[in-house]
Amino acid sequence: METISDNNWLLTILVFAPLVGALIMVLIPQEDEQSHKQVALLTSLVTLGLAAFLLIDFNYGKAGVLQYFVDTEWIEVIDAGYTIGVDGMSLPLIALTALIMPLVFVYSWNHIPEPGNAKAFLILSLILETGMIGTFVAQDLVLFFVFFEVVLLPMFFMIAVWGGENRRYASLKFFLFTLFGSALMLLSFLALYFLTEADTFSMLVLTENAGEGITRGTQLLVFAGMFLGFGVKVPMFPFHTWLPDAHTEAPTQGSVILAAVLLKLGTYGFIRIAIPMLPEAAEAWAPWIGLLAVIGIIYGALGCLAQTDMKRLIAFSSVAHMGFVMLGIATLTDFGINAAIFGMVAHGLITGMLFFIAGSVKERYHTLEIKRLGGMLAQAPRLGWILGFVSMASLGLPGLAGFWGEFPAILAAYEPAAGVSEQTFRVYMVVAAIGTVLAAGYLLWLLQRTAMGEPSAEFADDPNITDVSTTEWIAWAPLLFGIVLFGVAPGLIFEVTDLAVAQSLDNCITTLTGCEVAEAAASSGSGGG
């Protein structure tokens, strides 16, 4: 398969720049918090700069091809290579990660959560960044696995140390769940390695091979392992229970990172690894994935309606939103997968933003209990309006980013890939569409009870309740801008992902209807509304 190796130093630097920053911070004494903040922010800005350069330099005409491709030996004995590259599927996610982290650091400027210790907190965040970007660039299963797991420890400690009351339970649960999934996923990777003749962990080769020579039964098993690994991370129903706990307890920054990027590792795994490498199994599993996805949509929404805690509600909404993403993926069409990637980015921006808001609310009111809140629009109008705006984006309002993750996913479910039951997916389509109503329900309900009405007596004259501060504005503005930008011009992302998705689906053994449509459209030489 074709790859482009120009400027291939770029990715390595991009991945490890945060780590370098972390190492520098190790040397700075703990008392000097200001320097820590500066170094962390600077490091993430450098990373963002590199990511920006990547965005500029990226060859969009060949978005389906791995670019900045590096392929060297890493751990020879297990045939694991240091293979990294970027294509249209990973580019948006890398950009998202690189964008979110500086915002987190800006936010951290005067929001280091209890019990303090900026040094450790920021170092962990930087390690997280390396892990996340690494996962998105890895083109070798072992490397992918390692980066996939690297994020666990920092996140565990972020929740464990800087979390809320119940942080012990939540952090352990998060850790155990994800490890459980990834351990089984590793088994599947190994099985894949041995079952294909190539004896390689290179994703490129394995994708090209697309499960050839593996019996159907085995494929199903191997896929099941990956399904668990990625599904827990997504998280799909019924593996989602770690998520609300983790989010509720995590500090704001942790929640933001978790929602904005970490969850995407799972879905990314599906589209990068599970489906292209085992298309036959994917096809067999698709109805089940779709089923769990739509259950997740409804279930997450119902879960939201039952919540009394704002942050927990937002967390549950992630279950629903990721359900849309998974529904798109389950269709195995490029419509669906494009929608899924868009959904990931959109969810990253929107839910990340919601968690920022939740953090700020907590800081002002010292509670997130919906019952006790109210009248935010009166006391902190800008905060209230931002909440309203982001809620609208979250419920999939067209013209804002959330819509382009949801609607095309529902659209794709109308006509899933050949070999996948159309009837089944049409039912999913209807259920998913109903899910949008529930989404509006819980978000507006939240908005009404927190932002509207008169402030409760408890907080009516509380001087702590101030409007959005400058650091908050700086941290939030890019997200808000992104939500509008991608809502108005969804093409910015779709254009990048489309070729890559088509390329990866191209290899699938079954000719997918999406591809046919694509060809038909290409030959007719025009597009329509």
Partner: protein, 724 residues
Amino acid sequence: MSVVLGLAASGSVPTSSTVTHSANWFLEYAWLVPLLPALSFAGILFFGKRMPYKGAELGIAAVALSFLLSACAGIAWIQHHDDIGYHAVQNSTQWLQSGGVEFSAGVLVDGLSVMMLLVVTIVSLLVHVYSTDYVGDDKRYTHFFAFLSLFTAAMLFFVLSDNILQMIVGWELVGVCSFVLIGHWWEEKPNSDAALKAFLTNRVGDVGLIIGTITLFFAAGGGVTFDTVRINEAIVQGEVGHTALIVASLCLMAAVMSKSGQFILHTWLPDAMAGPTPVSALIHAATMVVAGVFMIARLYPVFFEGMQIGGSSINLMATIGAITLVFGGLLAFVQDDIKKVLAYSTVSQLGYMVMALGVGAWTAAVFHLFTHAFFKANLFLGSGSVAHAVHSFDMKKDMGGMRKFMPKTYVTFIIGSLALAGLFPLAGFWSKDEILVGTGGWGLLGGTGGNGAYTFHLLMGMFGAALTAAYMTRCVYLTFHGEFRGDRSHGDPHESGPRILVPLYIMSGLAVVAGFVNLPAGFQLVGDSWTERFGHYVEPYKSSYFPAIDHATPSWSLAVAASAVALVGAGAAVYYYFVKVDRLADETQQSLTELPDGLSKSNGLAAAGHKVLVNKYYLDHLYEGVIVAFTKGPLARAAYWVNQKVIDRTVDKAGETAVLVGRQVYDVVDQGVIDGFVDGSGRVSDATGEELRRINSGKVQNYAAILFAMAAVLAGAFLIIFAL
């Protein structure tokens, strides 16, 4: 930007022969119309508070410009139409691509959209001006104008959309603006409740919109396009399976029902009156709520085929419209809140439009949309003017006799009421008449044509006309006649200022003249070149994307009959209120709003023997006891009861149930089963570990025993295995 599609498409995708390239500048650049208010939204949002008039001037300027552009576009369209016929101007650009398919965004300028541009910009402009006074001292004044601008932009964007995907965007955006503006005074819970209800009800309909759109995309758009023209053409050319169209039209109908307040999904609309009155006028009367009607008009082939409108005498859409118009009219009777009367009236009028579309009277529906926008906006603004003076909307408690204080408002209100009641020669008369003609149900008495014999719908329409006249009479009486019942402690109410009155004048002027743009063919007073101008320029019947519908011939007899019915309705109400109630009020020196029940009852019992004999009493009884009392009493009350207790309750219950189910699912399934399983397996592990620890008793000889026993057991096991 000016990439015009059309002939390039090939293959299974139908070509669009009616889409044209070169056109007048105003048609080419019609996208500027929504853009201006959009920019003004951003401007007001970011800089509004720092402007001398707090952003209002920006909004007004933008909408005024938009209006000018729309007016020019209107003229341009007429020229364009005269030159080359009904050839829509489409102007699009690539928006996004997915799955190798390119999706474009663009504007579709044809008679329908130009007409909508005009309506929206006129009403919006007047509402903007009106609002500077009406919400002048509101603390969220700037914010109010920002959202008025955004709404205007979204609505214009919606009507100009050249594809359904874009329509969804506009559709939802207007919904959000409606949400925000209904909840403008969010401090009060009922207001935010109403806002939520509006949005959620619309979301329910959106499920239909989404599924219907998707169905059309694949079934009619070939999986490559959302383009309305191409989808319509494919359907007109019979390339689309009937099942898909039934599904699509039913789904879209659900969306229409929610947006345009059709029966059973209409309950949010009266609640939406919680918003400021200008908002009600603009959004919940003149423009947004007709989005559903517009969508049917825009995608008419879908409904025409899907609902099997042609050659039938009953179909779902027409029936829903008919039920809505009667139901809404009945409900308007029992409202004490002037805005609620108008809201139910809007529901009823929307029912007319949907019914008209349902019976195939496309032009009639769109024409009614056009006229209704003016007179209903007029009425809303008039009610706002009154309410502004008395700080209340309650007709029974706080109004009465207002004509003395507000003569100018009174006049405009009367004009609007007459137009709404459909009295000759005001706007409502022409459009309502055309709808009734369009049912094709007047065949017995000389009317001809139409797409079928929708006699039932004709009757409902007639009944509706009587109701309309009656409830508006009641409304006028309660508001403007009798004695003032409000609080005079702060002095008498007084007439509103010019920024309120001028829009009222203009609106009432339009309510008078709007009907003349579509005089029926054969209207002897003017030449043929003045008749049916509206239909001529707006209805795309000569284009390729419109189904072959039949046009009914106007009928004088029907016009007379309908007017008569309306007069009867009005007359009954006049008799009841202006005669009976007024007289009683004079007698009792009170300002009354209804005849006291006890009086009429005892009166009736006492006079029982005479009633049959005395003609006067007989009529009295007929009018008062049967027509008015029954309609106003049991029937309207029953309707109201159904409305509040059944439909509204259902809506509320649906919400409550969802929350309840959510709680149950969360408590039982999530925290109980799933989390319980997880935690349980943890506990089992723990317990097992605890049991296993007992092996380590601390006694070394036990350890040795275990060691040897295990060795022996293993050896024995293997020996047995190998012996077998």
